[in-house]
Assembly symmetry: C2
Homo-oligomer: 175 residues x 2
Amino acid sequence: MSRKPASIEHCPIARVTELLGDHWALMILREAFLGTVHFGQFETHLGIARNILSGRLKRLVDAGLLDRVPCPDDRRVHEYRLSPSGRALHPVLIALAQWSQRWLGDACEALQIVERSSGEAVRPVVVQAADGRTLDLREIAMVPGPDAAPEMAERYRMAMRASKRASSKGAGGDG
Amino acid sequence: MSRKPASIEHCPIARVTELLGDHWALMILREAFLGTVHFGQFETHLGIARNILSGRLKRLVDAGLLDRVPCPDDRRVHEYRLSPSGRALHPVLIALAQWSQRWLGDACEALQIVERSSGEAVRPVVVQAADGRTLDLREIAMVPGPDAAPEMAERYRMAMRASKRASSKGAGGDG
């Protein structure tokens, strides 16, 4: 991680990966989505060493994903609560859980994600066009925006050309 | 990571996190989505050490996310191509990119994710009810499935009760 090529300098996926590309960061967020707020609960539920937990919580607070707030019942104690940006990650977590149950096989029905009021399963998370049609991967393109670094803009254009070639060759089934 | 509490043993998010909760795993997948297939291209684009890249590619191939296939032009060389399960991760990657652009601030318009045919931006990735309504986080529940470990089932039930309490107290705005 010493050299950072220009092509990933301004990439939004690279930036989020710096933050979430860590086993514990994702597991802590999962816990937070399940309602865990206290340091000791995170520790017990995750089986994580206190010093590691402490560091990871601080990073998530610094990044604005968790808010560290005094506990209403005892203001000497703090709680870690999902901030608006943390809560906005729920489609990512749910898409990950659905993917895992679909593709990682075993324990397939350990978890069901449902609409609270009806108990009905939610839909699989998909990418949709502006009019709501579900898009498969071949129908989606990443294009440089106005603020793209020149090298990254070139990468996106190359990727677009490559995937056009692949599509016109009628490349295999979509995932 | 020595102790693994029963509560996370069968959790689908925990399983996917073992696999993807790694800075490089996500960055390699991002590269693959951008059309990178050759070892040397991954190396240059990511600025990653060869031994680390080699290990991470092997893990992704072993996990079935990438296929290692002979290059059509030179069968002594191998390419790393997204498998169906790797391709099926695209809603996760796109949701991450959208979240990053929305919440991590700077370089907000570096990347646009569009429908290839129209050039129109795709919708933000959301979680939808069976009938297609967009659900916010408070309207979603995780409930134990038939294969849930008993401890995990209890966790989901506790989380459900806690979030019900929070909703009935009219907890703040949704993320």
